[in-house]
């Protein structure tokens, strides 16, 4: 308990930054992932191929390598300089977007065929079929897998600690500088993560109940 109370400043800043990483990456990943999923079912072969290639490559690359590139490699390119937090958000969003895209695509597959057929029958073009009819129903169906993606994202934010972002994963290094026991600190970090994951799962259950698909 003392480790937590005496170093509450470290824990508070650390987890605040973790949550910042989480929220921004979650929003960007949700938007980008939905766009990629839409591209993957679009009538234009070039769009489908692009989205498939992106998903296949990024899903087979370790997140650590993605962050490695944005945190250490990107500054060498001499483009607009970005700080480590932004680099981590970009890396996490690009990585998580592929998982969001796969979840949304599986949701699109669960929407009954009749829905799309009805939409086409009243003359809606592809974009409207997708955005007005299919996607709203698909999102309801994919709440559980989508939340697993977000829980994984929350846990993945710790990887950014290896690339000079001060967040929950970096608390240990700062604690040991102050001479605090490493194990106690790490166990506290683990406990906070368990609580955060628990909150996310509770939110998931609530949303599932609220948006239950009645068919």
């Amino acid at each position: 308990m003392n480790t937590l109370l005496n170093n509450s400043d470290l824990f508070i800043t650390g987890f605040r930054n973790t949550l910042i990483l989480f929220f921004f990456s979650a929003i960007f990943a949700l938007v980008l992932g939905t766009v990629v999923a839409a591209l993957r079912v679009s009538p234009v072969p070039a769009m489908r191929a692009t989205a498939t290639l992106y998903v296949n490559i990024v899903r087979n690359t370790p997140l650590t390598l993605v962050l490695f590139f944005f945190a250490l490699g990107y500054p060498k390119l001499g483009l607009v300089p970005i700080d480590f937090t932004t680099a981590a958000i970009i890396g996490l969003s690009l990585y998580t977007a592929t998982y969001v895209a796969e979840a949304v695509r599986s949701g699109i597959n669960t929407v009954p065929v009749g829905q799309a057929e009805a939409a086409r029958a009243i003359g809606l073009p592809f974009t409207q079929t997708l955005t007005l009819v299919i996607l709203p129903q698909a999102f309801r169906a994919v709440i559980p897998p989508m939340f697993s993606v977000f829980i994984a994202l929350l846990k993945n934010t710790t990887v950014a600690a290896g690339f000079s972002v001060f967040e929950a994963g970096a608390i240990r290094a700062n604690l040991s500088e102050r001479g605090e026991p490493a194990l106690t600190g790490l166990l506290w970090v683990a406990l906070v993560f368990i609580i955060l994951v628990f909150i996310l799962s509770a939110l998931q259950r609530k949303l599932e109940q609220k948006w239950k698909v009645s068919r």
Partner: protein, 283 residues
């Protein structure tokens, strides 16, 4: 699937799709071209930055680091499968004092970030007198606890999704529960869950890269070391490219193997039960 979302294109739509296709291709080319141009302008393709990777000794070190990644992956994969099966059986046990701790175990280790688990092993345990923790053991222990818990859920879902008649038939011919589990339910569950199991194995392979942060001497760790060699112009981007090619290659090989296995198993339904059960242990 996608065909039900839009009508078969007529002549007008076909020309529109063609234009959109060209526009997409142009945008992609523009982005890729910009990245490549930026790489070229900042001298990432200069011979000096790549020279390092032509030395036999460096290539040997890279091969060794691939070996380190693969050995961590193989050890963790086998142990996680074993742990996953044990935990799944534990959760399905009729005795509450077995099923409750197994439930707690899987929920606990699925909620803690893998990196924090590895840090607990690598930085935490030695401070309370646990000896002999190498980066390898920390990486493998973290991977096994996390992926074992995830695989336990996969196996359990697989077993529970089987028709009730399977276990009932087993009991009817007088098999004890342990026998019903191991020789009737598990082989079928493994077979139906094979795609999920293999994708979890890809996750294990990818997550060995976390060893980079707990100083395990794997591909990314070597890449950072080579990338910081100033006398070769600190080739961090060439090193990242080499690491990316290695990782994506290994994962794609594993994924291709999974696809091959799936096709093979679906070709002869009912006959391949035993090989299916034996296969994941070989991966």
């Amino acid at each position: 699937m996608s065909s039900i979302l839009f009508d078969a294109p007529g002549p007008k739509a076909r020309s529109r799709y063609r234009i959109l296709g060209v526009v997409t291709a142009l945008v992609i080319l523009l982005i890729v071209g910009f990245v490549v141009l930026r790489f070229a302008q900042s001298g990432q393709f200069e011979a000096k930055k790549w020279q390092l990777f032509t030395f036999p000794l460096v290539q040997q070190t890279i091969a060794q680091s691939v070996g380190a990644t693969l050995s961590a992956f193989a050890t963790a994969a086998v142990l996680s499968l074993v742990l996953g099966v044990l935990l799944a059986f534990g959760r399905l046990s009729d005795r509450r004092w077995i099923s409750a701790p197994c439930y707690g175990f899987t929920e606990l280790f699925r909620a803690v970030p893998l990196l924090i688990l590895m840090m607990i092993f690598y930085y935490g345990l030695p401070t309370v007198g646990v000896q002999g923790i190498t980066p390898f053991t920390a990486v493998v222990a973290g991977l096994v606890l996390y992926n074992g818990s995830v695989l336990a859920e996969v196996f359990r879902a697989g077993i529970e999704s089987l028709p009730r008649g399977q276990s009932e038939a087993g009991y009817a011919i007088g098999l004890p529960k342990s026998k019903v589990m191991t020789s009737i339910l598990l082989p079928q569950a493994v077979r139906s869950m094979l795609p999920v199991i293999i994708s979890q194995l890809v996750v294990i392979l990818k997550d060995t890269a976390l060893g980079f942060i707990v100083t395990y001497n794997e591909i990314l760790f070597q890449a950072k070391y080579f990338g910081s060699q100033i006398q070769y112009g600190s080739p961090i981007i060439p090193a990242a490219i080499v690491a990316a090619v290695l990782y994506v290659g290994m994962c794609l090989i594993l994924a291709a193997f999974a696809k091959w296995l799936e096709r093979r198993l679906s070709r002869k339904p009912g006959a391949a039960v035993t090989p299916a059960a034996a296969v994941p242990a070989e991966v």
